[in-house]
């Protein structure tokens, strides 16, 4: 019943380095290498491939956050880490759907990852708040904020894009938008 999934596995340190460098190549290899494992876990425990996709992507986000904040210590195999996260996430989701799995079919060792999940939930919450705050902000504020703070465009570019006559107008506009965003984000 338990099939081991074999493929050329990139070295864990290679992946960590790739995450720090925002390497798309590494993300791709990470995905291709570990997604089947999660798919197997979810399919064998009352889920479908869409569930597996959600769960796995969430676990990658957790991994990225953890690595980028610099508090990632590789004290287990990366595979085990991802598997543990996904297992916990999936059981939680099953619980939320009030489905139960009497005996979880496991395909790998796993670790307790409650701390990571707690941190992730907090981040997830902030993500959702930011999403809704930006939505409520409306145009052109949303685009200005996104362009400046997310795309890292210069004020000059934004000026041209929105046809402001001088950079000061654009700066004033950006300031107003930012104040509104601050209000929306921190009040939520």
């Amino acid at each position: 019943m338990k099939k081991e999934i074999k493929s050329s596995v990139p070295a864990d340190s290679e992946i960590i380095l790739g995450i720090l460098n925002d390497s798309k190549e590494i993300l791709n290899r990470l995905y291709v290498t570990y997604f089947p494992m999660v798919l197997q876990l979810v399919l064998n425990n009352n889920g479908n491939e869409d569930d597996a996709k959600d769960i796995f992507q969430e676990s990658v986000i957790i991994l990225y956050n953890k690595v980028k904040t610099g508090n990632f210590e590789l004290n287990s195999k990366l595979k085990t880490f991802i598997y543990s996260i996904c297992r916990r996430l999936w059981l939680k989701r099953l619980n939320a759907q009030s489905k139960t799995v009497r005996n979880v079919q496991d395909f790998s060792d796993f670790l307790p990852v409650e701390d990571d999940l707690e941190r992730h939930e907090e981040k997830d919450r902030q993500f959702a708040i930011m999403e809704s705050a930006l939505l409520q902000l409306g145009e052109p504020c949303k685009t200005i904020i996104e362009d400046y703070y997310m795309q890292n465009k210069s004020m000059q570019e934004i000026c041209e894009k929105f046809g402001y006559t001088n950079a000061d107008n654009a700066k004033t506009q950006k300031y107003k938008c930012l104040q509104r965003l601050k209000k929306l984000f921190f009040q939520a």
Binding site: K24, L27, L39, L43, M130, M150, Y175
Partner: protein, 361 residues
């Protein structure tokens, strides 16, 4: 307001690393000296970090979706999907074989049944119904011509015949449905040789029963019936006898109930071991005390001593089913049995007038 915008711009520039070294040191100096300014810096950089985290997550998600779409999920799924339970796997593996085997079996069974004539077999193949073909079917053209000629000879002796017996003294007679089936006209003839015209008033093909009424003006009614109808089932081994018209005279036959069910488990009939012949159909089957327990209706061919008689309870059922309003005279069954205790020959003598030959034209 103006200063606020400037401050924010300054912080943005600082966070983006757009300031010169001199400006940075001035900026940091200001943070150390001015707590309100420092708070603003912290507040703003907090928001900016949230924004950049948000954007990074968004980007990561979209990157992953692109990768996900490039995967062959179907193949992966097949590789890792839970194995189906063993019976489903076996079914998948062998369903073609099973289908072929089932087809072969079906063809073999139905072929065998067809070739042995199972489907065409009705009760008449193994059970011959005991009506008598009086004249045979061989009425040739000549006969017809001869009969057409006005002649004062005896009436046409009838094509078929069977036996019937009185249900009541006012002229109701019961016989088998198969005896009178397809009849143009019906006559009943008693042991004296007197024939009376009768008409069919009720048929029950399911139980192979028919009730006739003598409508002949010369019929004067009968004495009280000496027999009754048994309402309960008879036991196997009970001695029984019958009287019928396998030929033109009444013939007595004696036997016993040999099985409580009839041909092929037919619960409507008994199996009786009794000598019966064509013409006995419709004859009463009586027990030793003179109760009618059935009506002879057939026998199994190729088997010795297996005759069948419809149970008396079904006769009673059929009679009950006759709408009494449609009858010209009331059909009242006799409740008094005057046969019990008599010797067989006395019983026969008493029964004689109540048993008729049914002639069918």
């Amino acid at each position: 307001m103006k200063s606020d915008i400037e401050i924010i711009n300054q912080i943005d520039a600082y966070l983006r690393g757009e300031l010169s070294d001199a400006e940075i040191s001035e900026f940091e100096q200001k943070r150390l000296n001015d707590a309100a300014f420092d708070l603003k810096v912290v507040e703003h950089s907090n928001l900016v970090s949230h924004l950049s985290e948000y954007s990074e997550t968004l980007k990561l998600k979209s990157d992953m979706n692109i990768i996900h779409e490039s995967l062959d999920i179907y193949a992966l799924k097949n590789e890792v999907a839970p194995e189906a339970p063993i019976y489903i796997r076996l079914w998948k593996k062998y369903r073609i074989n099973t289908a072929i085997a089932a087809t072969v079996a079906l063809i073999a069974v139905s072929g065998t049944l067809l070739s042995t004539g199972f489907f065409s077999k009705s009760i008449s193949t193994n059970v011959s119904l005991l009506r008598r073909e009086i004249n045979s079917i061989k009425k040739s053209q000549n006969d017809l011509i001869k009969n057409i000629k006005p002649s004062k000879g005896p009436a046409n002796p009838g094509e078929f015949g069977g036996t019937g017996f009185a249900l009541s003294s006012n002229g109701y007679v019961v016989t088998n449905y198969h005896v009178i089936k397809g009849a143009d006209s019906l006559y009943v003839q008693n042991s004296e040789g007197e024939a009376f015209k009768a008409k069919m008033i009720y048929i029950d093909p399911a139980y192979d029963l028919a009730v006739l009424q003598i409508v002949d003006p010369s019929f004067e009614g009968l004495a009280a019936l000496p027999y009754t109808f048994k309402k309960s089932a008879s036991d196997v081994g009970e001695d029984v006898f019958t009287i019928g018209f396998p030929r033109d005279d009444q013939v007595y036959g004696k036997g016993y109930v040999s099985s409580k069910n009839g041909y092929a488990g037919d619960t409507v009939a008994y199996q009786v071991s009794i000598p019966v012949n064509p013409g006995n159909s419709g004859g009463p089957l009586l027990d030793m005390r003179g109760n009618v327990i059935g009506i002879i209706n057939g026998k199994q061919t190729q088997v010795d001593g297996a005759a069948f008689a419809i149970k008396s309870t079904y006769i009673l059922k059929s009679i009950e089913a006759i709408p009494q309003d449609s009858l010209e005279e009331k059909l009242v069954l006799s409740k008094k049995n005057s046969l019990s205790g008599l010797s067989r020959k006395d019983q026969f003598k008493k029964l004689e007038p109540f048993i008729y030959m049914v002639k069918v034209y």
